[in-house]
Symmetry: C2
Subunit: 292 residues, 2 copies
């Protein structure tokens, strides 16, 4: 491989590991065959687990371990949420309550878009993950042969208050905004009061950045609520691996519950097969053209 050669040329030590489906011994994946051939260590993609759920498997853990992420705390959070999401009382079961409210919002009130909007850049990519979770789990044909799905929109505060909130506040009444609020961030840097001669800067002086984030979030949701714009806020005490595990596992359960209401299979993704079938022949033609 090109990368391998570059590392060798520069005498940089490296180790290759493969993360791949290990379930079928008779028809091994390409990556597994290469791993056997080259004596690479392998990690497993559990059979039947879609990419959107694989953050809770070795697929996610390999990367997590490399960056020193607290996997055990993350799993403890997921396990704690797993128990809560099996409560029969809907008011003790956050995923069931969330799924039911969003399903009613969609089917009864036409709120068929969900804006997922944590506040704080550290949670930016959580929105991207949720986009895939909601799209692939629910965006499909239901058992009544009607297309279901709520379209996820990734957002992050405060940035998207400038980019998107105009439309959330005054556009069509077809959205639910899902806020994620971190009550206390680990580091609450305080804005220095260095320019108190300017009234507009003085207003921010000596206020913590995290307090400003939460003030902005509260203002955003109050503004939406004041005009019948549906929104929901999930608040975690602080941001750590435990609470991140809770938030993510709760949403996995929530799409599962909603899939039952909507009559779709949350765990397949047949829609992507349509373009996949078209790619093969096109690639073959491109190869022919290139080689002729």
């Amino acid at each position: 491989m090109i990368l391998e050669k570059a590392l060798q040329d520069r005498n940089i030590n490296y180790e290759v590991v493969a993360v791949t489906d290990m379930s079928d011994d008779e028809h091994p994946t390409v990556l597994r065959s290469m791993a056997i051939e080259n004596h690479w260590k392998t990690y497993s993609i559990p059979y039947g687990v879609g990419g959107r759920f694989s953050v809770f498997t070795e697929v996610g853990f390999v990367t997590a371990a490399l960056v020193g992420f607290d996997i055990e705390g993350f799993l403890a959070g997921a396990a704690s949420m797993d128990a809560a999401c099996q409560e029969e009382d809907i008011f003790k079961n956050p995923a069931l309550l969330s799924a039911l409210l969003k399903y009613i919002a969609s089917e009864r009130y036409g709120r068929i878009i969900e804006v997922f909007m944590p506040y704080g850049e550290a949670l930016h990519s959580l929105s991207d993950w949720y986009v895939q979770l909601l799209s692939e789990s629910l965006g499909k044909m239901s058992n009544t042969c009607l297309p279901y799905g709520r379209t996820p929109v990734a957002a992050v505060g405060t940035m998207d208050m400038h980019a998107q909130v105009q439309e959330h506040q005054e556009g069509r009444l077809n959205k639910v905004v899902q806020f994620i609020k971190v009550k206390d961030w680990k580091h609450n840097l305080v804005v220095p009061n260095t320019h108190s001669q300017y009234e507009r800067l003085q207003a921010l002086g000596n206020v913590g950045i995290c307090d400003i984030l939460n003030i902005a979030l509260d203002a955003n949701r109050e503004a939406l609520s004041s005009d019948n714009r549906f929104n929901m806020t999930i608040t975690v005490p602080t941001l750590n691996s435990f609470h991140l595990g809770e938030i993510m596992f709760m949403h996995c359960w929530a799409v599962y519950f909603e899939s039952i209401f909507a009559g779709v299979d949350a765990f397949d993704q047949p829609g992507v097969e349509v373009y996949k079938r078209l790619i093969g022949p096109k690639l073959a033609r491109a190869k022919d053209t290139h080689n002729s």
Copy 2:
């Protein structure tokens, strides 16, 4: 300022410039007052130009110049598109045609979401820009007192073929997917045919990365079209500053034309005032709490 002190402590040369509204001499902005006080060079945010359009002003050009972006080519592309977008014949006016088709798609066919999906990571942030352009320009109350707007969704190929296309292909029939296709990229790296013993890798060997991108895009749109899923493709000959200027300016004209059809003002953003009014008092309370 903290940053200034850090630079001085390390003997790093620096220059501060301010980009701010210079229109009101009697009530200068905070940044302008600071610039006068500190003898900073200033660049202008033209009065009344919203953030989404400001890429075509000094706001965009300051950053562009710093990274060595070809501003003149960009403006030449915008100017060329500006002429085309004033053609009376709709088939010679790409913005008018695009706006009309999307308006009809929305009002007649319920396609009230627009997925903006260029192929190629280099165009990833173009989607983020378009999200703001469409949200803020059209997501508002119309002159018939009905909320208008089409909700933009940022996407990029091929990544979001995994994350989002399931829902585009099988979810509700309420979307238009806007593809941006680059016919020939400047560098068309060819995939080396190093593992031809594996059939699935051999299929990609000796094919250019750009060809693979465009094959994936074509497969995606054909798959959508095969099931009455609305989509449109804009193709540029290559990606350079001229064509980028064309694409972006065309979409500015398009939201303007659509604003006329829909009866909204494309150039204001009254919806963001709602949360802004709520932030001030909350900040004041936070300051009181902090200081008491």
